[in-house]
């Protein structure tokens, strides 16, 4: 059975991916951790959050037309699961 919990990682360029929590080994505090994704160019990680397969994600972004903010609700189960290493996907 697959792990229903995963880490959803989003970058400043608007890319994101869902990684199973089992991909992250527990380490000691004050250590460096592990790579969670590969970044392209000057892209940086914006946030990372734990999501459950039953969750609905509220994604917000800057609207292009009126300059305001738009929101969409996405089911976490609809996002494809990726391995920890590897590039992010929009």
């Amino acid at each position: 059975m697959s792990d229903p919990l995963s880490l959803f990682v989003v970058t400043e360029d608007g890319l994101g991916k869902k990684v199973p929590l089992s991909q992250y080994p527990q380490k000691g505090r004050a250590t460096a951790g592990v790579i969670t994704t590969e970044l392209v160019g000057k892209d940086r990680v914006l946030l990372a959050m734990i999501v459950h397969e039953h969750d609905h994600l509220l994604l917000t972004w800057n609207g292009e037309g009126n300059g305001g903010e738009q929101v969409t609700a996405v089911k976490a189960s609809e996002l494809k699961m990726f391995m920890r290493r590897g590039r992010v996907y929009s």
């Binding site: 880490l7 000691g28 592990v34 790579i35 990372a48 609207g63 300059g67 738009q70």
Partner: protein
């Protein structure tokens, strides 16, 4: 004096407050408000408002309808579920903690402008709220865990923030150039996932993070690479993990 006591002495009619009791009255006032589920929306320009709990319920044929949650000139930073009887802890970038009752945050609509947090809290110049955390009760087995940009973490019992108010309590002592990036509530038996902007994630257990007093500088959460900074932290309760 003894004669006066004998003549006029009777049982004391007022209550002398001892530690902890001073806040009992506040709880009673809060409970006078009707228990109502709501969501708290916090925007990037520092505005707070409460909304009906069903505001962000997925709509449309496939449950993926798109709508505008705040005014066009605002950007959402955080949306949290709460009730009208909760208290809301606001953690600031300079390591101070404020408390405001949820029912005191103005209720609005998706298109209404939120209340500037500076009107609600006594923030210093350059200080901004980074996280809002609704609290139902100051449970003894809960902790406020604060993470800083330069990789520090501090875990303190939630009960130490009972006295927080609109003026704020000093919480995390920060080094020069450091700032609080996020804070969360822990039950002391889970795991933390700390992520940096250069895509490193560290998972460590609660047993490796000892609780300390409210005012302190914390301990190292994560070893950072050159120029890296912590951008987010998440908490996983052990009981919520299902394999």
């Amino acid at each position: 004096m003894q004669q006066l006591i004998k003549q006029f002495g009777d049982e004391r009619r007022t209550i002398i407050e001892v530690e902890g009791q001073a806040h009992a009255a506040v709880t009673e006032v809060a409970s006078l408000h009707e228990l109502e589920p709501l969501v708290i929306a916090f925007t990037r320009n520092g505005a707070l408002k409460t909304l009906p709990a069903d505001t962000f319920t997925p709509r449309g044929k496939n449950g993926d309808a798109v709508y505008t949650p705040v005014r066009g000139d605002e950007q959402l930073r955080q949306v949290v579920a709460a009730t009208s009887q909760d208290y809301v802890l606001c953690v600031s970038s300079t390591g101070r903690v404020f408390q405001v009752a949820a029912h005191r945050i103005p209720q609005g609509t998706r298109s209404a402008k939120g209340e500037p947090v500076r009107k609600l809290l006594e923030l210093a110049t350059g200080e901004e709220v980074v996280t809002v955390l609704p609290i139902e009760a100051y449970a003894e087995d809960c902790y406020l865990v604060t993470f800083s940009k330069l990789g520090k973490v501090k875990k303190s019992p939630l009960s130490e923030y009972r006295a927080a108010d609109l003026d704020g309590l000093q919480d995390m002592k920060l080094a020069e150039g450091d700032a609080v990036v996020t804070a969360l509530i822990s039950r002391g038996q889970g795991e933390y996932f700390v992520t940096t902007d250069n895509a490193q994630t560290l998972r460590f257990g609660d047993d490796g993070l000892r609780a300390q007093g409210r005012a302190g500088q914390g301990v190292a959460a994560m070893a950072l690479g050159p120029g890296a900074k912590v951008v987010s932290a998440a908490y996983l309760e052990l009981k919520s993990r299902t394999l």
